[in-house]
Amino acid sequence: MTEVTMTVNGKSVSRPVRGNELLVEFLREQLRLTGTHVGCDTSQCGACCVHVNGELVKACTMFAAEADGAEVATIEGMANADGSLNVIQQAFQDHHGLQCGFCTPGMVMAAAALLKDNPTPTEAEIRHYLQGNICRCTGYHNIIKAIMAASGQDAGKIAAE
């Protein structure tokens, strides 16, 4: 066991971790932040996406020990200070960008990472960016619409089928 210290959603936490403890296990099992989901555990689905030092990362494919000293952001830290949904989350609700919701935390974290670098992405850019995030419910169209809307663009403009 080694002791790690990191900032998670703005709060500093220190805990002992096993060498083979994944970041997602640390978040879910030690910190009980269960919003970060494990869909595949094989780096394919993106349900476990979080931000580490501002960059999108699959938390199932990084060790907790490697996040020592890092700033980690998870879905639990995404809401506005008053507890209301932030603009991306609200857009997912407004545009029906989720059904079962399993992929949604990863989708929202991916969308936030995209919009930070590219505040008004095209439909093609959004689709390309989400290549590592799999949704088995929505068929993606409404997710794309939500991200278009969250970036202040006309969600109605996305290509039909």
Partner: protein, 263 residues
């Protein structure tokens, strides 16, 4: 996963020392190694994480050479080589997905030498030099078949030096589920020669297609590839995603597309 310790050195020297331990193994981005550990296909006693070593993360131009630190991520390479070496930037930008590119490194990819990895094709086509903590190895000597390289136990890839071509492009025909290349071809045109590196296709791992290099050396046009005989189908990988003959055919098609796209 089996249990192991993880150590995070801050310098190459400390990493090399840590790797002296029995059954110690480096981990860079972990995008290949962590899935391998989960399947219990590796059982290191200790992982030596290279991600904290700042001196292995850089992209810089040195005359006609692009010099990249072994710990540089695909995402950084996609951004920082766009101006000087767009062919390589395009290759890096299409590896995996954004989250994979934020962790995975060029050193890890070159060290692993997966038969479908993208960078090895660029390294061979450009005649890159692989620099380790001990020595410099020419790409032609470095890649030695699927998952096989000239690296010795505990040796770390610290830098890759790419001669910058006048024009280049990478064309990747994606295997639709994994998005690794089913066949990927990197074409690099220099003043005095053309390099063609092929990944994903051969049972012997990444290779140079020398017939195409010669033909393109005298006429750098997609048509120059048309008359060539495709590599022997019996040497190509045959699996549920495509037969050897299919891959052999794709080598020609991807080479032509890369020539047409080269910039």
């Amino acid at each position: 996963m089996y249990s192991f310790d993880i150590e995070r050195p801050k310098s190459v020297a400390d990493a090399v020392a840590a790797l002296g331990a029995d059954e110690a193994q480096p981990i860079a981005g972990g995008q290949t190694l962590i899935p391998t550990l989960k399947q219990r296909l590796a059982s290191p006693s200790k992982l030596v994480a290279l991600s904290g070593i700042e001196e292995m993360k850089y992209v810089r131009r040195d005359g006609d050479t692009l010099v990249i630190g072994g710990g540089t991520t695909h995402g950084t390479i996609a951004r920082e080589t766009a101006e000087h070496f767009p062919g390589l930037a395009g290759l890096a930008a299409r590896i995996g997905d954004p989250a994979v590119r934020n962790r995975g490194t060029i050193g890890g990819s070159i060290a692993n030498n997966d038969p479908s990895a993208c960078y090895p094709s660029a390294a061979l086509a450009c005649g890159a030099t692989i620099v380790t903590d001990k020595r410099e190895i020419a790409a032609d000597d470095y890649f030695q078949g699927m998952f096989m390289t000239a690296l010795e136990e505990g040796e770390i890839v610290t830098e890759i030096r790419f001669p910058i071509p006048e024009k280049s492009a990478y064309m990747k025909f994606e295997q639709i589920a994994s998005r690794f290349p089913l066949v990927g071809v990197f074409v690099a045109k220099f003043a005095d020669k053309v390099g063609v590196g092929v990944t994903g296709a051969s049972n012997d791992g990444v290779f140079r297609w020398s017939e195409a290099e010669q033909a393109l050396g005298s006429n750098f046009a997609a048509d120059a590839v048309s008359g060539l005989t495709a590599p022997d189908a019996s040497d190509m990988i045959s699996d549920l995603h495509g037969t050897g003959a299919y891959r052999a055919h794709l080598v020609g098609v991807m080479t032509k597309r890369a020539v047409a796209a080269a910039s």
